[in-house]
Symmetry: C2
Subunit: 103 residues, 2 copies
């Protein structure tokens, strides 16, 4: 059994939203310029999986939480990204709102 990680899809989604090329994102990540595009391409094709440190740095550059890269559902990904920009009080208000949706 080999399940498909959502990282490639989410990474490309967050990168293109920021209007960055693979080369640009790779260089922002600190990769060598002559290697940056190829490595980012490998991540987006699922050929290699970034380790946690790399994912964390990609998340910071792309302004999403690391959890975003693991969202299998597109709507859940959009929610995770939006929630990440809220403050603690807004997050608590959101949890209360979700309780009303479930009932």
């Amino acid at each position: 059994m080999s399940l498909i990680s959502p990282i490639p899809v989410r990474l490309k989604e967050a990168r293109t939203r920021k209007e960055l090329t693979q080369q640009q994102l790779g260089e922002l990540l600190g990769l060598e310029p002559n290697n940056a595009s190829a490595r980012m391409n490998q991540y987006e094709r699922g050929k290699h999986t970034p380790d946690f440190d790399t994912l964390k740095r990609l998340a910071d550059i792309l302004e999403v939480p690391v959890a975003y890269f693991y969202c299998e559902d597109k709507l859940e990904a959009a929610i995770v990204e939006a929630v990440h920009r809220l403050g603690p009080e807004q997050k608590l208000a959101l949890l209360a709102f979700i309780e009303t949706l479930k009932s």
Copy 2:
């Protein structure tokens, strides 16, 4: 630089909420009984990191999305867990609600 993955904390949180022991969860995962508890303990201490397939199966057993294990913020984790139980229409309603919070 080595950043700390939230997997150990979230895994223990989701397991204890289900009132499962490390031994029980390991066996549900399909580990050998004489190895189950030790391996789950390694995951919860961050000694080993489960691969994506294993995380996906743990997520299914514990009824959380895989993204839950990567939430660094406790409130975001609670939101991700709650959102996962909503249907598509409820998720859309939630996204609209978040927009009102941000303004």
